[in-house]
Subunit: 226 residues, 4 copies
């Protein structure tokens, strides 16, 4: 597979190159805020960079006779950006997600399941709490993933945020009854896991019909074929 | 509610009486391996005792003009016992489960969900392990609940069993990828939680149509009405 | 051993009786805020009740020809109370502690050790955080034990408090470096553990010289003889 | 500081170069099983490679007029190797340890402390268990660190080993009483932590008197000066 990479020189860009290289994919287009280098039409363009780069990414994808599928993990896109992305998805496959971790996806599915099975809001038997831990350099509290998990419940979920040392990232949902506890915990071992998710999505995107796909949609494709 | 209790003098029997008393239910029939005392027809009979008592429980439930609903948590019933129980369930509501914990039920639902969403057997990306911890007096390894959780996967799941101190009971399912981990853990705080589950089931059983119900069936009733 | 019990009808009083009974000790003096009953001179008086009862406990201990050793676990005694207790300890053995758990004692010793071995305050390599979890009915945040653990460090230790379901009590000290983490965690399984500590202390107090002893002092006695 | 590195092209060698570079140290001697390159006399030689390289490392350190201090983390050195190393330490500072993690050192100190404070072997009140988790590629069970921790107790400590996914390395010592639990857990976040320890030791070794030092000795130096 030939791929393009927006933001190739950033921290996430380097991880993406490392993982795509290991999978045997070839970088044929790359840019960052200073340079741009195009060898030939890529089969897919990957953008996990900043919102400022986004407009250019959209143009680049459409400048070829055949538009190029997109895998976008840029967080903080605004509503107009998303609308533009959806417009492009009429012509070519677009995968967009705020989180490309298969584990976080499973966490979210578990939490959705708990709400379906457990009627937590219908009675007073269970308390729900979220505890998230990250390295000392992460400033936002609570994390975006913690917010996403809390939003799955239809009541307010108290969230504790720990910032200490080099913790790569941990999210725990605690479901506490009077006589028993359930804890669902996700631990990131390495930020590479997000690059792995991007690679997985890019490999699927190449063969997809035009459309707007979430990471969950992509994972479901695997299950059907698996 | 008036209830009968088979095995009222055992450890589980005492907990059941404690919980049923707190809920305002009145004990009108009780027996153990030595004594039997019947004041009047109970609205439901609860049996969490030993297989030896089971035949008598079946007879007692059917000796009244209107047969008495049954809540049975006796483990180690054999296939003939289950067949007898199902025959009785043609005439009256029978709730039968090996585990009356709402939390363990959720654990099982999560694990079933993981298998549905994650295609763990279809690829080599994830390792699954179970770790269970119990008090030093528990002799069987692995626990019945650990076996039940392992059976949800269609491949062999390595299980580690810890027996130490007074740990009331802990079951963890570890889903380990190369870049991330998910752990789903259940901790019993108190054995009372099983008596609470029995009380919950008994209160439902009183009003149910004849039939053979699992604990999961009973919990689903609450969700519908909740 | 014959023992006296102040506050015998309260929650802690009941646990103490249960544990002392199992150890074969005989209750010969008991009182609460309404009743008092004395059969004969006790070998030791145990008071884990409220500050209001404390003055009477001191008097009772001294009303016999030979004053009676005291084991006091009443929290919230004021400085005057402690001064009175120390005065009595000139004449008879007094064991006083805010926490009679052997495990919490070990936690404290570990934390003191960490400060000695790790020079946490001398550099910026490690972050320290405390996380404590208790049942939904506990109102004070952070717990007294969390405060005690935090005080062992000569800098401010951020503390997160979770109140959920029926959690009996959990205290974790997290020592987080950039490349590794250490967590020291104490979990209460049952409030009986404090009654066990009281019984252990009472059995020692009977044979001790007059003096003012902490729970740590009592535990050290066992180590020497053990 | 100018340093030499034996096994510079291996996995650990690369991490060591990365960390030493960040600390501003200059590589002036390097070798692996195929190549050797010497620019000038290093202030210290670091060897975390294989036993086969060890003899040459000893020679290299002594080939200069002033012998070069050594930091050796090669595991699986035999008794003769250690004897040779001790002989060299008469002339120059040698730091030798099987584990250069400050966190594992603290774990060991905690465990030693527990044995001193807790009289675990003198009574039957506590059960001790070790649980260690590593990535699926680690073949030895239990890990060397788990063995080291178990050896601190004067009785047999049951050890459970989990091998799953990409877990960087986790060691937990569980101290379980009937009414309470203590868990002491170490988690490696990144193998870089061992390279950090090596760098820390090398920076100290440069100024040390001849002698045979453990990693614990080096850490204590910091405490004294800190």
């Amino acid at each position: 597979m030939k791929y393009g990479l927006v933001g190739y020189s950033g921290r996430m860009g380097k991880l993406i190159r490392e993982v795509f290289d290991e999978h045997g994919h070839v970088l044929v287009y790359r840019c960052d805020d200073k340079t741009e280098e195009a060898v030939e039409r890529p089969d897919v363009i990957v953008d996990f960079s900043l919102p400022e780069a986004f407009e250019k990414t959209l143009k680049t994808a459409q400048q070829y006779d055949r538009p190029v599928p997109l895998v976008v993990g840029t967080t903080a896109l605004n509503n107009d950006d998303i609308a533009d992305l959806k417009a492009v998805s009429k012509k070519v496959a677009v995968v967009y997600a705020r989180n490309f971790s298969k584990g976080i996806r499973l966490m979210r599915k578990i939490v959705d399941g708990l709400n379906e099975w457990g009627s937590f809001s219908a009675n007073e038997d269970w308390d729900v709490e979220i505890i998230e831990k990250h390295h000392r350099f992460k400033k936002d509290k609570p994390s975006g993933t913690a917010k996403m998990l809390a939003e799955a419940f239809d009541f307010n979920v108290p969230t504790s945020s720990i910032r200490a040392g080099g913790i790569p990232g941990e999210h725990a949902v605690l479901i506490a009854g009077l006589g028993e506890l359930i804890e669902i915990k996700h631990q990131a071992i390495s930020p590479r896991t997000f690059a792995e998710g991007a690679c997985f999505a890019a490999e699927k995107a190449v063969d997809l019909e035009p459309g707007f796909y979430t990471f969950d949609d992509i994972c479901k494709l695997e299950e059907k074929n698996g």
